[in-house]
């Protein structure tokens, strides 16, 4: 008993071929969309690679780009097949390779689904990469004279302003590192000597943050130095002050940005997978309906179309048997060779 049998006459077959051809053009555009999404994601990762410790894995965007290109190619070929299926002489050209093409399509669809799953799972390694990268970035904030790191200050400042965040977990991360370069510290001043002497590493620590942490929505001019000292500023209570600087941590902000992007891409890939499955089923119907013509000479005769020739269980056992015979075929040849050798 075949799976999902549908009867076809000539008119229905023509309509099916036209619909599936139309859908294949949409699928080609979906392939282009997939390619461009992969490209966009790659560029976004590249833009902030300094903050990711140069360690970020480009596996997912590369996979998306590859899948996009393959999708375009497959759907182009599929569309051509559909277009030719209306003409029996042209279709005869495609007939022999159609079965393998369909199997390839099914494999490609499974791969697309795996890609969609990866999009949702990639968030976790990204979290670790970001945490490490931001910590190092802040450590090198002051090294504006070290070649290779001189742009870290600029990158961090621009990022904090763009994503409206401050520090790694929150603004207090800036209190634990020295972010003022030694070139701008007057070592003869008592205050500087006191601060440097006050901790083990000899770092100039202060309860201040860079200007890029400032919130433009604050009603008062930004307070970036002596932040924990309420008496240093008039009418200021740092426990209740929420609008002065950004309260969010940059790891959180970047993670939600990239997480949102990957969720959107993952959802789109799932939709594209569904479209691909639909066109594959359509092509299978075209193939089966054109190969079961009641009267092979008469193109106007009726025919049947199906998704699977036998039931799911029977098809599965058939595939298992085929794979077993492929592996056994190798073994039989070996034993016969050994027998030949022993005989001679």
């Amino acid at each position: 008993m075949a799976l999902m049998v549908v009867k076809f006459d000539l008119k229905k077959r023509v309509k099916l071929a036209q619909t599936v051809w139309f859908m294949y053009w949409f699928a080609v555009m979906a392939g282009v969309l997939l390619f461009s999404m992969g490209l966009f994601f790659k560029i976004e990762l590249r833009k902030r690679s300094e903050l990711m410790d140069n360690n970020e894995s480009h596996f997912l965007p590369n996979l998306l780009i590859l899948m996009g290109l393959i999708a375009c190619a497959i759907n182009g070929v599929g569309g051509k097949i559909c277009y030719d299926s209306l003409d029996p002489s042209k279709f005869a050209k495609w007939k022999p390779m159609l079965k393998t093409f369909l199997v390839f399509c099914v494999g490609f669809n499974a791969l697309l689904l795996v890609t969609a799953l990866l999009c949702f799972l990639m968030r976790i390694p990204l979290q670790f990469t970001l945490a490490e990268g931001l910590k190092n970035g802040m450590k090198y904030y002051k090294d504006t004279d070290t070649p290779g790191r001189c742009y870290m200050k600029r990158t961090l400042d621009l990022m904090q302003m763009e994503f409206r965040c401050c520090g790694n977990d929150n603004y207090r991360d800036w209190f634990e590192i020295q972010w003022v370069s030694n070139r701008y510290l007057d070592f003869t001043a008592k205050e500087v000597k006191d601060r440097i002497g006050s901790n083990v590493d000899g770092q100039y620590l202060m309860d201040g943050v860079p200007f890029s942490c400032c919130n433009p929505g604050s009603p008062r001019p930004c307070i970036q130095i002596q932040m924990t000292n309420n008496s240093a500023h008039y009418s200021y209570d740092h426990y209740t002050e929420e609008l002065n600087i950004w309260r969010r941590g940059c790891r959180d902000a970047l993670l939600s940005y990239y997480g949102g992007m990957m969720n959107t891409i993952g959802a789109l890939v799932v939709l594209i997978t569904m479209l691909e499955v639909a066109v594959t089923i359509g092509l299978q119907y075209i193939d089966s309906s054109l190969s079961t013509l009641v009267n092979p000479e008469d193109p106007e005769s009726e025919s049947e179309g199906w998704v699977l020739e036998k039931t799911v269980k029977e098809t599965f056992t058939d595939i298992m048997a085929k794979m077993k015979s492929l592996t056994k075929g190798g073994k039989v040849e070996e034993s016969s060779e050994a027998a030949v050798e022993t005989v001679s």
């Binding site: 504006t144 004279d145 001189c150 200050k153 600029r154 400042d157 621009l158 302003m161 972010w179 003022v180 370069s181 070139r183 701008y184 510290l185 007057d186 001043a189 860079p210 200007f211 890029s212 400032c214 433009p216 929505g217 604050s218 009603p219 008062r220 001019p221 930004c222 970036q224 500023h233 008039y234 009418s235």
Partner: protein, 366 residues
Amino acid sequence: MAVLRVKFTKTKRDKLAQVLWILNWISVVTGAILFSLGLFLKVEINKRVEVMAERDIQYMPNMLIAVGLIACAINFLGGKICYDCVDSTKFLRWKLIMLPYIICTFFFTFCVLVGALMCYSMRGELEESLNLGLTEAMKFYKDTDTPGRCFLKRTVDILQIEFKCCGNSGYRDWFQMQWISNRYLDMSQKEVVDRLRSNVEGKYLMDAAPFSCCNVNSPRPCIQKQITNNSAHFNYEHQTEELNLWMKGCRQALLEHYNYIMQSIGLAVLITWLFELSVLTGVRYLQTSLENVLRQGDPNSESDGWLLENSFIETARINLNIIKSLGKSNQIDEANNGDPNINVPSTSKAHYGPDNVPPKQMSESS
């Protein structure tokens, strides 16, 4: 002597009509592009309307939007006319409308040219508007508790960060106004009272700028307070320090931004104008050649097409005479003593059909 006379065979006429049909559709697309450019400019101006004083600068995008819509409509009609012109019977439908259509489109292309020139002339008005608007916005920077002005601080900060600028003409503009609200000044401190007393208007002035003026490219943490005091900061000389704050004024930065937009729009409008003019020339040739075909009677024959039937001077003279006679038609005709009912014998020859044979005289006898 006709202006730029060209001979047209039937196939040449048909081809011209088809080409013009396609070109008219392309012109519809360019009209839509003009419309969207006008919309884009309107949105860009409205985004920063808070730092612009009341000046008449909205006319520019509104005019672009109107021109874009009219161009779409005119070229849509032109496309329909050209499509019908392939068939000479359908041309009869449009025959009377074509000449007024061509004249209207000709005047419309003048409007498009004026629009293109206005793009380049808006600069002066915009500069004036930005100058006044920015000064006002900086004056109200501190009024974050006044309803209606409470967002000006945020707007100015974001503007300075985005356009990488500081103050109106430079960062020194901030030294001349009080940008800290009185709510955050400790009036009991001697230093505050001294500063307030040091100028006529009682404003708290200092040589400091808001944090949004800080340059991200600076190798050292931003110096925003005591900018002119070299001894307040280690290894600092404010006369040579260029990377600390943004050196550009916001008026200049915004002007550059808008100039770039308007130059691009002006170029697009000029190209559209040239395109429209060429389509109009084609339609004129099509109209004159089809009218001549009708005059000759044979739809498959050759005909002439021209821009103007007579030379420029003669055409101008004829049109002036027409306008004069329009004025005269209201006056009474003096020739027949003002009586319109007297039969004046016709001086032109009667036309007796295609063979021009006068009818035989009917014999009196039955």
